[in-house]
Symmetry: C2
């Protein structure tokens, strides 16, 4: 387990899979768009012609960044005119599918860059738990469905796969890791933000009872993994290293570092909320009653978002064929189990708007 | 052939293949390192703390950029001290393997970024025949073994695969395309360069007799493709679309746009030379007399650099399995034929140092 301890989350699934199967994340991000517009409207920017710099922390393949970044660019254009250069830096782990990102950003009909020749997209392939951009360089930051991923696994987790569902000492270890990671993320972003800059963060959140809406997916995955052990597709040792390091947060958790003075590392929260999301897939199901399609959609979401991190624990994780076989089998197992366990879910996000003072 | 006409060059082979098989390009780039140092020493930079911006146009997977960028960063550090932020933007086509690039830049022992926390690597996935960075944004540019690739194929080329070896009307069409592309490249880079900035360009060149040192590789590939047609591995129609759009240039060709006044689009050439390169692989062969190893090395270079562009003409070019099967078979065919045709080769590069006035 020693190397499992060192392992952080994996990038989302590549070759367009995340873009095709992240409608939930898109819906969550949509909640943040008005915050992003407010942020773009309020950042302090000197006159002159230096480029305005936007950063998108944890972009994956980019599709879900187009709407919020597009909204920000429209506000910036109103404020600063069509000629001012705007740089957009999308960041993600080195293994992210940047080719899909660049294609989507330059070709998608909804892209912020498509009809604006003075917007300049770029990418940075480095963990956001490290410095990514020069000090004081960023005017406007966005991070959606990204900073919930822990930088490392601080505990073993026998019996199940979801870090946030752990109990006892493991739960304490994960909570400490989550606190450390969040403070690291904030400190680094604070340093990168220009004075008067803004950062919008969207994170998945537990519901009011502290439960995670994807819990049923994780249960199905747990069962599917047991079956894969029984069938010899994976070993019990590999299974032990499989932990979903997504750690959704409630507003109180995101606000904790700011303390009673409402300040941390030069950042000040201007807005924080816990927001429920509609269940788009279920609405579609009520319309078409296609159980198989709903199960397939949820399993595909599970695969693109969570399964790559589980695949890291495979002994032959570096072999693409092994990886794909694992993802495909796990997805099928989750889909099959979901058929009997479909229900509407209310997902929540925590939204946060920060100002660099 | 209509879509073949629209097609430009493909990215170099991914998954580390280009990094592993581009020693020739590294040797050519090494010729430019003193120019890059001279450029870094002479760029005009205001005081203050804005980041110094370096651009690497056509980076592929990054390994060959580490030495020249490292040399530039050392000079910049001497001039501006350890604290000044330096941004490095590596650019290549969207389909380039950026994951390998980011890993190499952050992890390689010889990387410019490894021991310097104030250097910030990034990437831009867009053709360098389009704008890549804001106007007046770049202090120092580098482009090695990249700008010889044409943006499109302007002619059919029956009977052989190498654009620069064509005759008659096809030769004129390629020469016109090469001229247009070079002027486009220069104009775009001129706009991106800050006044007082510098750009170093390294291009492969024909020898004094106008011959290309890789001609024997192209002949072997041509034979291998004929055999693949005969064996049904590819169709004659697919073969027709296979053209190597690399167009090496002599100094006179690169200097042509500058005219008698020595000015083009605000750029002024400070240095231009035609430089022979040693044949590292042959030197190794003289030591070990391992014919198979030499043939394998040359065939692997051919594959990583030229074969992906040929693979674009496959009817099922979007299928990775089809692509890899094609590359593997073509490489094997080239290797086998090379065994009887090995000889020392003298490659040439044209080097160019430009100043933005």
């Amino acid at each position: 387990m020693s190397n499992a301890h060192m392992r952080g989350a994996a990038p989302m699934e590549g070759r367009g899979a995340y873009n095709a199967n992240s409608a939930l994340q898109a819906a969550g991000g949509a909640v943040g768009v008005p915050l992003m517009e407010a942020a773009a409207a309020s950042i302090a920017i000197d006159e002159g012609d230096r480029p305005v710099v936007c950063a998108d922390y944890g972009s994956s393949e980019g599709r879900n960044s187009l709407v919020p970044l597009g909204a920000a660019v429209r506000v910036l254009r109103r404020r600063f005119g069509p000629e001012r250069a705007i740089i957009v830096a999308h960041t993600d782990l080195p293994g992210n599918d940047f080719s899909t990102l660049f294609e989507v950003v330059d070709s998608s009909a909804e892209s912020y860059a498509r009809d604006d020749k003075n917007v300049f997209p770029s990418a940075i392939g480095r963990s956001f738990f490290l410095p990514l951009l020069p000090p004081g360089h960023v005017d406007l930051g966005w991070s959606s469905y990204a900073a919930q991923w822990l930088s490392r696994n601080p505990a073993t987790l026998p019996g199940h796969i979801f870090a946030r569902a752990s109990k006892g000492e493991a739960a304490s270890a994960f909570a400490r890791q989550a606190k450390t990671d969040w403070e690291t993320f904030l400190s680094l972003r604070a340093k990168e933000l220009r004075r008067g800059g803004r950062l919008v963060v969207i994170m998945p959140a537990p519901d009011e009872a502290g439960l995670h809406p994807s819990a049923v997916l994780f249960d199905c995955a747990e069962d599917a993994l047991q079956e894969m052990i029984a069938g010899g597709a994976i070993t019990a040792h590999e299974r032990e290293g499989m932990i979903i390091l997504s750690y959704p947060r409630l507003p109180a958790e995101l606000l904790a570092p700011f303390g009673p003075e409402g300040q941390f590392a030069g950042l000040k929260p201007n807005h924080c909320a816990h927001v429920p999301l509609g269940d788009v897939a279920w609405t579609q199901y009520e319309h078409d009653r296609d159980t198989a399609a709903l199960a397939a959609r949820r399993a595909a979401f599970f695969r693109a978002t969570f399964a790559p991190s589980l695949a890291r624990a495979l002994d032959r994780a570096s072999e693409e064929r092994t990886n794909i076989a694992f993802l495909t089998r796990l997805e099928a197992g989750v889909r099959r189990r979901l058929l009997d366990r479909l229900s509407p879910t209310v997902n929540f996000v925590t939204t946060l708007l920060l100002e660099k003072t």
